[in-house]
Amino acid sequence: MTIARGYSALMIALVALVLVLMAASLVVGPATITPFEALRALFRSDGAATLVMREIRLPRTLLAVMIGGTLGICGAALQSFLRNPLADSGVLGIGATAALGAVVAIYTGLAAAFPLALPLFALVGAILSVLVVLALGGSAGTTTLILAGIAVASLASALTSLALNLSPSPYAALEIVFWLLGSLSDRSMLHVQLAAPFMILGWLLIAALGRPLDALTLGHDTAASLGFRMSRVRLLLVLGTASCVGAATAVAGSISFVGLVVPHMLRPLVGGKASRLLPASWLGGASLLLAADLAARLVSPAKDLKLGVVTALVGAPFFLALVLKSRGRLT
C-alpha cells in the first residue's frame, strides 16, 4: 500500500540524512586536516590525526546522534501520551531537573569519586519532573501542562544557579551557561560510554510503547479498553524518558526544542501514527542536533557557541508559531 511505501521511503531518507551529517561532523574542526585525511585517520593509525578523530570528533558526533535521537523520540512519546503537540522534555522541565541532578553530583565531588553517580543523579532529577507532569497527566489542558512545565523548569534552573553560585569553585558560576544551554565541545569517549547504556535502555522502554501510543490517539478510556494498562504505560514512559534524557543532560547540559520541532515536522509524513513517529523522530532528532552542532562550529569556531543557542534560535520561533496557530484550540 502506498502509505507503507511512503513510510519506508521516509525512513531511508532520514537514515541517509543522518549518515551524511555524521560524515560532515567528522570532517569539521579546528585542526587542519583535509576531509580525506580525516576519514582515513579514523580507520587507520595515523598519529595525531587519529587521536583527534577517534577521541575528539568521533565522540562528539556519536553524542550528537545519541542525544538528538533521545530528544526526538522522547518528544514524540510525550506528545503522543499527553495527546498534546506542545510537549517535549524541555517544555516540561525534564532537562532542567536532570541538569540540577547532574550539578549536585559534580559539585559535591561525588561524580569524581563514582563516575556512575553523574547519570544516576541526572536520572533521579529527570524522574521528579516527569512525575509532576504525569500527575497532571492527560486530564490537564494544554495551558496547565505548559505552565506546570515552566514552573518546574524555572525552579530547577534557579536551584541549579544557586548551587553553582554557592559552590566554592570559582569556575562554577561560569558553568551555569553550559548547564542551561548545553554544549558538546571537548566530550570524550568516556562520556559516550557513561551515557550509552542509560540512553539505550530508555530508547528500548519507549519503543515498547508504540502500540499503546497508537491506541491513545482515541483517548485514555479507549486505549484501556483495547487492553493496554495505562499505569504500565505511564511507568515505562517515566522510566524511559528519565533514563535517556537524564543521561543526555548529564553529559551535554540541557538542550531544548529538538523534541518539540522534530515530531511536529514529521507527523504529517508518517500519517499521524504514533508508533511510526517514534523511530522517525529518533532519526529526525539526530539529524537536527548534528546540524545544530555543525552550525555552532562553523559560525563561531574560535568560541564555544552553546548548542542550546542554535536550537533555541530555530525552536523558539517555531514554538511561538505553533502557539499562535492553535490559539483557538488551547484550553
Partner: protein, 286 residues
Amino acid sequence: MRAVDALIAFVLLIAGFGNAAADESPRRVVSMNLCTDQLALYLAAPGQLVSVSYLSHDEKASVLAAQASRLPVNHGLAEEVFLLHPDLVLAGTFTSRASIEMLMRLGFRVERFDPESSLDDIRSNILRMGRLLGREAEARRMADAFDAEISSIRQDRGPRTPLGAAYYAGGLTSGLGTLVNEIITTAGWRNLAAELGIEGMGLLPLELIVMNRPDALIGNNQKEEEPSLAFQNYSHPALIAAVRAGTGVTPLPERYTVCGTPATARVIRQLVDQRRRLTGPAGGKS
C-alpha cells in the same frame, strides 16, 4: 620686629617648606586591589600601609599573605575606605568604577594601576609605586634585583626550546600579550597559544593541542581546586595521550601570575627547572 627675629622666622619658614617637602610621602595608604596590595606591602615603610583588600589574605592568591594578614582588610567599598581616612588610595584599573569615582568626588587622591601583563610592566609598576609612596630608593633596589634575576634566567639556555601549552580548566589559555606568555618564553619555552596567534586570554581548541603534541601542559593545580565541570577537560583521553612528557599538568600558581610581583621570578625559575628535567643536560628527553 627686629631683623634677627625676621631672619629666624625666614629660616624657620624655609625649613618648614623643606620639611613639608620631606613630608610629601603619604602616611595613611589604603590599597583596594590585590596587585597594588602586593607591591605596597613590598615597598611601604612600616606603618605607612593601613589597609589591604581581603583578597591578599588568601594564600592561593597572594604571595605576601602572611604580611597582609597583619593588616585590616577592606572590601573595596567606598564607605569602608572613607572611614580609614587615607591620604592615598591605591586601586586597579578594574576596581569598581563606582567606588573609585565616589572616592574621587569625596576629595581623596586615588592612583590606579594597570594589571601587569609583561615583565617590563612589573618593573615600571615597582618604580611608580616607589614614587607614590616616597620610597624611590627601595623601589630602585627592588627593580634592579628583579632585572638581574631575569637576565640571569635569560642567559640560561638549554639544548632545545620545548613546546609548552598554557591550558587552564575550561579550555582557556594565555596567548600573546599576557604575563603568563612572557613567563613561559622567558623560562626558555615556546607557548603554543602564542605560536597559534591567540591574543590575550582565549580558548585553545583541544584538537590543536593534540595536533601539536606539546611537551608539557602548564596550568591549574587540580588537586588544590574544588570539583567543577571545568576540570573534565584535564582528564580528556586525547589530551593525556597527546602531551609528551606524561607529567600531568605543571601547575602555575595564580599568586605568581594574576599579579606581577618580584616573586614572579620564582615561578620562572621553576619552569626553567622543569625545562632542564625535560631536555636534560645531554639533550635527551626524560
